[in-house]
Symmetry: C2
Subunit: 411 residues, 2 copies
């Protein structure tokens, strides 16, 4: 008898009928001879509705109270889902994050899981009960409930798979799995059958919101196989596992996994006569106030230096303030472009085939799209382009690299 962790997102629990449907899927898994722990998010738009309520009451609410409030959404899910399963005649018990023994640090609203005491869950599994656990929440050392940040229920699921020594973690959502590109943008985007942790991380980091990045990191670290599936269909979904396992099992692997894009960033450009020390200064100032710099580019033309870098849109104001202070010292001019997008090609093929980058630029050039900044990592090539070009770029790259076909030909 094996143990399966099943995680269901909020859109899978948005109303009574959907909750009953999820209950049925859990019971089928149980009757197939598995022990089941289900992790759930808050139903539908509950979390967003609660945040709207907060906005009407306080501009800068205490984070402890925000977590107290947000944790209620998952408590609603676990109890209603447990009632639905009970009504279908199966033994079931719900647990909040704290009851399930999930312990985190004191960083309210973005706590990190420190430890899981699986005793209570194991006791219930030993009694052959289905266990429903509230995702996204944990207990901190002060005895308060804390939340794990956006997408935190994925992390709860993977962390429970580690703690309970389950090697399969199924993550159900309203999409069929991971695609070569966003299927809402690219009509013939193809669902990927297998993808490595690293590729998945690059996909997630580039804006494909199927799985929370930290959950993939933890899965990679502890070798938990993630199975991304749809709540509402029986299709096979996508398996996220190690590159080695994919090779071992002679699974058909693809040199390129997919195209992703991200419109949540902005580009700052600084022009300065003497650039000595300025990059160091930018990095140190930004890191001091918690701003992540994503790409950086420095060019010299006629002794005039131009430095460009990318930050998250949410950090735009803070970055501007830091640069304003700096430019007093450096006599530089600063501009910010909000209308950019990052487009990325991801795949294990990137690291060994330099031809991929050349082909990417050729396709974009042919489509009349200007490439602005480039960053190349082991398994990802990213370019900054104009925001207005992003949909065209995704489509042309998807077509140009033949991603809708099962085999990718790199030249």
């Amino acid at each position: 008898m094996s143990l399966v962790i099943m995680k269901f997102g909020g859109s899978s629990l948005a109303n009574a009928d959907k909750i009953k449907h999820v209950a049925e899927r859990i019971i089928v898994k149980k009757k197939d001879g598995n022990k089941v722990v289900a992790v759930v998010s808050a139903p539908g738009d509950t979390t967003d509705d609660l945040i709207k309520m907060v906005d009407k009451i306080a501009c800068n609410p205490p984070v402890r109270e925000v977590d107290m409030l947000l944790a209620t959404g998952e408590m609603v899910s676990i109890s209603l889902l447990a009632m639905a399963i009970d009504a279908m005649g199966e033994e079931v018990i719900s647990m909040t994050g704290p009851q399930a023994g999930i312990l985190a640090n004191e960083d309210y609203t973005r706590a990190r899981i420190k430890k899981i005491n699986p005793q209570k869950i194991n006791d219930q599994l030993a009694k052959d009960n289905i266990v429903i656990v509230a995702g996204f929440q944990a207990l901190n050392p002060r005895g308060d409930v804390t939340t794990l940040g956006r997408g935190g229920s994925d992390l709860t699921a993977v962390a429970l798979a580690v703690a309970l020594k389950s090697d399969l973690c199924e993550i159900y959502s309203d999409v069929e799995g991971v695609y070569t590109a966003d299927p809402r943008v690219v009509k013939d985007a193809r669902k990927i059958d297998y993808i490595s942790y690293d590729e998945m991380l690059e996909m997630a980091g580039s804006g494909s919101q199927v799985l929370q990045s930290r959950s993939v990191e933890v899965a990679k670290k502890f070798n938990v196989v993630i199975h991304s599936k749809s709540t509402f269909s029986e299709s096979e979904g996508t398996i996220i596992t190690s590159e080695e396992k994919i090779k071992e099992k002679k699974m058909e692997s693809f040199l390129l996994s997919g195209i992703s894009f991200d419109k949540s960033q902005v580009k700052f450009t600084i022009s300065v006569f003497d650039a000595s020390g300025i990059v160091t200064e930018i990095f140190s100032r930004c890191s001091e106030v918690g701003i992540n710099i994503d790409m950086l580019d420095q060019s010299v033309l006629n002794k005039s230096n131009t430095i460009s870098f990318i930050v998250n849109r949410s950090d735009m104001k803070k970055t501007q303030e830091e640069l304003d202070k700096m430019t007093l010292d450096f006599k530089a001019s600063v501009s910010c472009n909000e209308h950019i997008a990052k487009i990325s090609i991801i795949g294990v093929g990137v690291k060994s085939h330099s031809v991929v980058a050349a082909k990417m630029f050729k396709i974009l050039h042919k489509s009349g799209i200007d490439v602005n900044m480039v960053s190349i990592s082991e398994i990802k090539i990213s370019c900054i382009i104009s925001e207005s070009d992003v949909l065209k770029a995704v489509e042309e790259l998807h077509k140009g690299f033949g991603l809708s076909k099962k085999r990718v030909d790199l030249d």
Copy 2:
């Protein structure tokens, strides 16, 4: 510096503006030089909405899960209220029932408070923080959250007053206090300034839903003065305290406190030839299955016995089933009248003035209202009348006894 417990009902917290208003009232109390612990119910119709959701999912949901679900409503209230107070610049912390150290037994959905560990609250009060506590909920020995039954937040407030050694417990709602009759029914109903615990208990038991009965019982036991006030006005409200204190302070006491009515009951009538042992049988069978019998009346006419008694409407089906079994043995005929109401006159004057009952019947008779069953206790006289007569009866009795005036003349 004295400690005040302030309890706010759900209708006082139904939206962001009301929550801010409650925050202001708490801060005013704090700035008046008091330490403040506020107990809150779930906002507006939250609890009813959650129960509707349950109805769509399960007919007979597990009580543990019902409590897990219902407890979320008060968690929403405490966190939003704490945010509102924080936004107004005061130090504040929210606590769930379990965090506040409120411990109960294992009776889910109607748990009884066993003990309160006030350490955490006292620590926060010592730091001069306002403490917001979720009403209606407690921690049981299994580590689960349980709820205290309808109106349970009143009980939380009174129990905290006892545990924290506060001798004043303010209960805020959307009414101005306790009235001589329901002001929606009797236009010139008068707000009562002082009422004894016993009278209040009789008022509550007879359908006046200003305060939960158990909370009044606990207040009586531990001599906690309850002050029932309106959240939305500055009027003085009603003070509920002991008869002795009312006399001691030479407060103007009234022989009659008020009129109340209750339409939540039904009347069973059994006709049987030989009644020997039947009343005992009814009482023992009903008590076995947890049915409370409220009034009982036995009359004999031409050797035919008629036995009538009153039970709660919610117990109607169960009572019918028990009687069906019995009548097989006793060869009796059973009927049930759902269209009845109980009307009661409450006041310390009842116990010493037998004239009250006579006057009551005279007023009802003059108004053409048939009296069906009568029960007389120390401070209450109740009659069963036809449901359709109830509003007229309340008005006529209120007028007849001169309850809108400050002094009641009994003859």
